[in-house]
């Protein structure tokens, strides 16, 4: 496995090089669909809460395999509502959310659970089971494919151990496989959360403020990893961030939200710092 985490200084990082897709052996071994095409399609998404508040209005977004889209916006702009609608935690008032070609917006229960399998989510907090090993936490990502009695009693599927180790190697933490998750640093924990997400064999990876609680160096590592998963493994990555500098450095495309409306949807290289500043100042 070639995944390594070297120098992470922001200054040393070439943002153009970061966006270059590279060949990877992981894509074959993990069986991730690398075929180009839209993996996440959000159409006319509207979310109106029972109290009448419109959190999202006619939002449209399509994310291709291998693309990293960063969603920016001030608090209350609708970023979290958008993420909740995509993963099916909120049922949208109107519009549709298609993941790998299947509409999630009208599903519930078992059907939603199955349709959500190609979709993995990383949150602000790694949400690892602290008393279990790093490897066990990663294996948990594959539970959706192994609905057996043994896994219902806490046993991990045997044939998922080797892939889980591969995923850990991919995030540069194979040497910590046997360590308790509770002993990891914030950056390490978040990378294990990424490995757990990879164990799902997802086609779409959502990251909801994945670096919010990390120091700059760890944040850079995590963003570098997400960038690589998009470029090399062909995942469609959607990341909510509050750090415009990271967004500009790693994203292919930026999506700006304000009061539930999309006011910016453009290639990251074509977005100026001024436009991003305006995005945040607009609600001030």
């Amino acid at each position: 496995m070639s995944a390594t985490f070297g120098t992470t200084g922001a200054a040393a990082f070439d943002s153009n090089a970061a966006r270059q897709p590279q060949a990877s052996t992981r894509q074959v071994s993990r069986g991730v669909a690398l075929a180009s095409g839209v993996k996440l399609a959000v159409r006319d998404l509207t979310m109106r809460y029972p109290n009448g508040h419109v959190a999202l209005q006619d939002m449209n977004l399509s994310v291709q395999a291998g693309e990293l889209v960063v969603v920016l916006g001030s608090n209350g702009s609708g970023k979290s509502t958008f993420m909740k609608c995509v993963v099916g935690l909120n049922r949208p008032s109107a519009g549709s959310v298609e993941v790998a070609g299947r509409d999630l917006s009208s599903l519930s229960g078992k059907a939603l659970r199955e349709a959500r399998l190609p979709l993995a989510l990383i949150s602000q907090h790694a949400n690892l089971v602290r008393r279990r090993s790093v490897l066990a936490n990663v294996c948990c990502g594959s539970l959706g494919r192994h609905r057996t009695l043994a896994t219902a009693f806490g046993r991990m599927p045997r044939d998922e151990v080797a892939p889980a180790l591969d995923h850990l190697a991919e995030v540069g933490l194979a040497q910590l496989a046997g360590q308790r998750a509770g002993t990891l640093s914030g950056g390490q924990a978040q990378r294990v959360a990424v490995a757990r997400a990879l164990a799902q064999n997802p086609q779409v990876l959502l990251a909801d403020e994945p670096v919010a609680s990390l120091d700059p160096e760890a944040a850079d590592e995590v963003m570098r990893l997400l960038r690589r998963l998009a470029s090399e493994d062909g995942l469609a990555v959607v990341c909510v961030l509050h750090q415009p500098d990271l967004a500009l450095r790693y994203a292919d495309r930026l999506l700006g939200l304000r009061r539930g409306h999309t006011i910016l949807d453009r290639a990251a290289t074509a977005v100026s710092n001024r436009e991003i500043a305006d995005l945040y100042m607009a609600d001030a």
């Binding site: 199955e114 959500r116 989510l121 949400n127 690892l128 008393r131 279990r132 948990c140």
Partner: protein, 267 residues
């Protein structure tokens, strides 16, 4: 001036009213204590006049009857076994009940209220009363005592277990749910590992409590050292009483130390 600037931002509450309320609260606390003194008919002078009687009993209890060591072994084992039985059955019944009684993981409101009702009833009735009921039902001996401890433990452990589950970090649960894992898988892989150390600690503490309780249960015919103690007191065998009290002290102290050590291991 800086200090003046700060003062302007300090809350200027009605300090006189606050003082009156503090005084009223203090007077209420004193009144409560005085009524308790009256109701329990407290007579400190009786402690002074009764000191002679107590000294007499102590002198008659000396030296403790250490020759009773061998016949005491079986009651000691019985006492320990009462606590083991009561704790094990208590844990086995309380764990599933606590899952139903924890708001964040319960499958539904009827289960929640049902489980809470069972926990409430088993907890509200003291183990001594349960022992009296079971002695009536199954006769004298250690078994009714063990049943009493088990039933009361269900209530105590059920409530504490449910509180631990309710307070647990739900992040891993949500994370695993979103991976497509089923309810049982999420429960086994996120809930159980998250709460197990706390539950084990509580169970060990309960064992410690049950050991103390099993001593008292003997007084109502539920076996163990308590029963031996009652018999010795009724027969005015004060040296035996003294020896049994020493055994009790050693037993409780050892259980306390072992329980604390094991709890530190699982913490």
């Amino acid at each position: 001036m800086m200090s003046t600037a700060y003062k302007t931002h300090l809350p200027s509450g009605p300090s006189a009213l606050r003082n009156v309320l503090t005084l009223a609260a203090a007077l209420l606390a004193v009144a409560l204590f005085v009524q308790a003194w009256i109701v329990v008919q407290a007579r400190p002078q009786d402690l002074v006049t009764g000191a002679h009687g107590m000294a007499d009993i102590i002198s008659r209890a000396m030296p403790p009857a250490f020759d009773q060591f061998k016949p005491t072994l079986m009651p000691v084992l019985e006492t320990i076994d009462l606590a083991i039985f009561g704790t094990v059955f208590g844990v086995l019944l309380a764990f599933p009940l606590s899952i139903l009684a924890a708001r964040n993981v319960t499958p539904g409101k009827p289960f929640y209220y049902g489980a809470r009702a069972i926990i409430g009833i088993t907890r509200a009735v003291p183990d001594l009363v349960w022992a009296l009921l079971f002695v009536t039902a199954v006769g004298l001996g250690p078994f009714p005592g063990a049943l009493a401890l088990a039933v009361h433990s269900v209530g105590m452990l059920g409530m504490l277990f449910a509180e631990v589950i309710e307070d647990m970090d739900m992040g891993p649960v949500e994370a695993l749910t979103l991976t497509g894992a089923g309810r049982l898988q999420v429960f086994a892989n996120a809930v159980v590992p998250g709460v197990m150390p706390s539950l084990l600690g509580i169970a060990l503490y309960r064992f410690d409590e049950n050991l103390r309780s099993s001593l008292v249960l003997g007084f109502v015919g539920a076996g163990g050292i308590g029963f031996e103690l009652l018999t010795a007191m009724n027969l005015f065998q004060y040296p035996t009483v003294a020896f049994l009290l020493i055994v009790t002290f050693v037993l409780v102290a050892c259980a306390e130390r072992i329980s604390a050590y094991l709890r530190s291991l699982v913490a």
